[in-house]
């Protein structure tokens, strides 16, 4: 997930990750300084004891050839995709992403162990590549610099990063073979062992080459130089114990050298054939990462002119979507945090991406041939349906669009838009929809809200309140109640609470009452982009006609839609979620939380306020300003928060699988021991209302779900 929603900063890891940078920088300086040092100082013979050093360049040429082949092969498959609009806009921003997410690897560090391991391996490869390059320059160009002090420093950091690499390899081996780490096993291939063991062999053989050379040269000739190569020095010291003759050592040296070179190039060749290709694809995908809000789904332009709606065939994806399939490293982080997967429901984002990747490899070449012959990729070419056979319908419907997968993905794959694209095909092209979701969509179309069977009206919540002002363009804010806030019984108290607090704060605001209609969010997330566009266009026009400038929403879904998606329809409004407004009012002093609420409360981050809009603090600060309320965090919180289960239209679907997501999340909330679970979203509250009693059957002492506004209302106005 892009810029706005990275993990809370963890400075220690930040420093670790930055180490290799100075190392490279210093060596660069050293390189420059050393070219000025006179010959005869510390140094060594390049390609010592090796008869055919030019073989390195044969290997190198082969490697480059392979890489070009691999790239062309992949690129032709990516080329099957549609154009990717805007992919080359905001280049500086994209470079920053590539640096931050590709080189500095902010996402990788979200798993601490993997972060350290990956940094060890990554920095080792970068620095040792640089070391090798310097050796090549010294040996095969007139530039001579590997002597004197710089040679000693060079020897030191070469060994240091070799050792760091080995630490990384050891950590990887430990996790894979000794800890039997769960998500590594979800989709394991032989190549995974080849990469790890291969890298270990490359590094160890490198040390042996160095140790053998030191044993016959520096150890006797320049014993003060030798310790700079401290790893090789230790090995060499150890080898002295075997009392080998010099020819034996030289023989060990030459065999190690060949082994080292062969294994190093073989390992590098894995880039072409295995997930090691993420070495290139991850930073490139970071460059391609969207620069707008992750809360925004793509708009199908000129929808009435399309011949196919959404993505039903692999060639309907954009080439960027096909590209990122190749970036996937099967790390399983997405699947590990996926609420559907956690509840045993039929969705694993990792397998979804991998299945698409396999499908592309399966049908891609035939599609290319077809395109070559007939000018288009051909929908009849693939032997099996991508949507339905390769990716099952229930997999697509299980997605909550919560964005946890994208948040965790270290190679910046954007799963949710890909899933929604396929839903669009299911809904608009094929009309294959779970019955209950269909009912919600039909209800949206016919009645302008998704709550089939409600017996409430949009104005029912006003009963018992004094005059509720209707928005007429003269007020500063439109208070957007939303369908859930007005048509679902449980949410009426929240709507009333927000209303009372807004009035108490002295804000100038009004509501639309009967004129509210759904803004289309559920339709868009369920894949009916056509219906969404109709609803969105209508509402943008209504807002403009009524001169709406600022909107306060009850619901984070409405908030996200107005804020991030309505600009696609030329609707530009300043949008606040009610927690943002209330937080501001408390800080300004226009609201005062005076009555104590003595309770332990836990806070649940809704996906669309938190992960998608980076608003983690305002609700928490409100809770902190309520006297007596003690915030107890759940284990999964902030950007790692777990969806309540309702997102992505799952509010209106029956769940298929072992458990219900809201039961899982309710369990996590109950485990904090808090007496209230506070949220900011009408859907989350409903899911907790259902989930808490399910996991805590006794009514006695049961945790109760509330909105932040309800908590604050009780503190501002006192007991009712």
């Amino acid at each position: 997930m892009p810029d706005t929603t990275t993990a809370p900063p963890t400075p220690k890891q930040g420093r670790v990750a930055a180490w290799w940078g100075p190392a490279v920088g210093l060596s660069g300086l050293g390189f420059y300084a050393a070219t000025t040092v006179p010959e005869g100082a510390a140094g060594r013979q390049i390609f010592f004891n090796v008869a055919q050093p030019w073989a390195v360049y044969v290997f190198l040429a082969a490697l480059i050839g392979l890489m070009v082949y691999g790239f062309v092969h992949h690129a032709r498959l990516w080329g099957l995709g549609r154009p990717t609009p805007g992919i080359l806009s905001e280049i500086p921003h994209r470079f920053r992403n590539a640096m931050r997410l590709g080189l500095v690897q902010e996402k990788v560090r979200r798993d601490r162990y993997a972060g350290i391991m990956h940094w060890c391996i990554f920095s080792s490869i970068v620095v040792l590549t640089f070391v090798t390059a310097q050796v090549a320059v010294e040996g095969d160009t007139p530039i001579k610099f590997l002597h004197g002090t710089y040679y000693l420093i060079f020897s030191f950091y070469g060994d240091l990063f070799g050792l760091i690499g080995l630490v990384g390899v050891a950590m990887a081996i430990n996790r894979r073979y000794f800890q039997d780490f769960h998500r590594i096993r979800w989709d394991e291939k032989i190549e995974d062992s080849l990469i790890i063991v291969g890298l270990g062999l490359v590094l160890i053989s490198g040390f042996f080459v160095e140790a053998a050379r030191i044993l016959v040269t520096e150890l006797t000739q320049h014993p003060d130089w030798a310790p700079w190569s401290f790893v090789a020095y230790v090995i060499a010291q150890g080898l002295t114990g075997f009392h080998m003759s010099e020819p034996t050592v030289l023989s060990i040296h030459v065999w190690s050298w060949w082994f080292h070179i062969a294994s190093a190039f073989s390992w590098l060749a894995l880039i072409v054939f295995t997930r090691l290709d993420h070495l290139f694809f991850a930073p490139i995908n970071a460059f391609f990462l969207r620069t707008d809000s992750p809360g925004r789904l793509t708009k199908i332009e000129d929808i009435e002119q399309q011949e196919i709606f959404g993505v039903g065939y692999v060639q309907d994806f954009t080439w960027k979507q096909l590209f990122e399939l190749d970036a996937c490293v099967r790390c399983g982080r997405c699947t590990e945090v996926c609420p559907a997967n956690i509840a045993g429901q039929p969705l694993s984002p990792m397998h979804l991406i991998q299945d698409l990747k396999m499908h592309l490899a399966d049908v891609g070449p035939d599609l290319q041939t077809h395109r070559h012959q007939f000018g288009d990729a051909g929908r009849e070419v693939a032997g099996m349906a991508m949507v339905g056979d390769v990716i099952k319908d229930e997999t697509l419907w299980a997605c909550r669009t919560c964005g946890a997968c994208m948040q965790e993905c270290p190679v910046m794959i954007e799963h949710v838009p890909t899933i929604v694209d396929m839903r669009r095909f299911l809904v608009m092209n094929e009309a294959r929809i779970p019955a209950t979701a269909q009912a919600a969509l039909e209800n949206l179309e016919v009645r302008g809200h998704p709550w089939r069977g409600t017996s409430l009206e949009r104005t029912t919540w006003m009963d018992g309140l004094e005059e509720v002002p209707i928005f007429d363009g003269s007020q500063e804010y439109l208070y957007w109640v939303g369908c859930s806030g007005s048509l679902v019984e449980r949410n009426l108290p929240v709507t009333k609470a927000v209303f009372r607090l807004l009035r108490e704060s002295g804000a100038s605001f009004g509501v639309l009452g009967q004129e509210e209609t759904c803004n289309g969010d559920p339709a868009r997330r369920l894949g009916n982009e056509y219906l969404y566009q109709i609803l969105a266009q209508q509402l943008v026009e209504t807002f403009k006609a009524k001169n709406v400038q600022r909107v306060i929403t009850n619901c984070p879904h409405c908030f996200n839609t107005f804020k991030n998606e309505y600009p696609q329809f030329d609707g530009h409004f300043e949008v606040l979620h009610h927690t943002e407004f209330l937080d501001g009012a408390l800080k300004k002093g226009t609201l005062k939380a005076t009555f104590p609420i003595a309770a332990d409360v836990t806070y649940h981050d809704s996906c669309y306020l938190g992960r998608y809009n980076d608003q983690y603090d305002a609700p928490r600060q409100i809770i902190e300003m309520v006297p007596g309320a003690n915030l107890v965090e759940m284990q999964r919180n902030f950007s790692k928060g777990l969806c309540c289960g309702a997102g992505g239209g799952n509010m209106w679907q029956e769940e298929v699988g072992e458990r219900r997501v809201n039961h899982v999340r309710a369990e996590e909330a109950v485990r904090t021991g808090a007496s209230q679970v506070i949220s900011n979203c009408p859907f989350c509250i409903q899911m907790f209302e259902d989930g808490v009693p399910a996991v805590h059957p006794e009514e006695e002492g049961r945790m109760r779900p509330f909105d932040v506004a309800e908590l604050l209302e009780a503190s501002v106005f006192g007991p009712k």
Binding site: R452, G453, E457
Partner: protein, 267 residues
Amino acid sequence: MHIVVCAKQIPDPETPPSAFRIDAASNKVVPAQGIAPVLSQFDGIAAEAALRIKEANAGSKVTVISLGADSAAAAIKQVLAMGADEGVLLNDPAFEDGDSYTTAKTLAAAIKKLGDVDAVFCGRQAADWDMGQVGLLIAEELGWPVSIIAKGVTSGGAGLQVQRVLEDGYENVETPLPAVVTVSNEFGEPRYPKLPQIMAAAKKTVTQWKTEDLGLSAGEVGKAGSRLKLETLSLPPKGGAVELMPGDTPAEQAAALVAKLRADKIL
């Protein structure tokens, strides 16, 4: 096979009770603000049944007919979007405020005018008046056999195989063509229209017929021709105020309830 689906547009049955109003002077339901009329649920299901037979029989055609005002064209479009081929709107002020009899008579006249119809599918009842007789009366007007409250319809041999819902189960009925079938909700949900079909339906023109197009006279349709006269339409009397059981705990409330029911000698 040519199947006619009769579709009625009705005030939304899901109008919240608090928004449901009756104009006593005209004996009519006042349309609730912001709540658009809808296709009667059972008629959508009838359309689904017809479309499934169309799909199983190459060369078949489905025509949707509605009797109603201009707005009823939306109900026709909805069935066209599901996959029906043609739409006819029987739209004439003279048709207004009729009873089941005049409605059936007018629809039957339109079906006769179409000429080559093999079957007529209706919803088991319209979800506004819930009478459930238009399908039967069309059959009587046309002199066709009729099978009502179907949960399944297939075509085969010389006729239709209808699975009917009974109070205690189902029965299978074989009927020759032409025939009328009314379809119940047990049949299953109507399909969700595919977007390409929604767009195609939007482009289709709906034929409009008036009294004279059907060879009828103003005196025999609508209110004038009705046999059943609506005298009053009113809100039902509300039940007496609920008596909430006293008590702070479920046990106390339960005790109060059981005592009440026993006192009333009904338990």
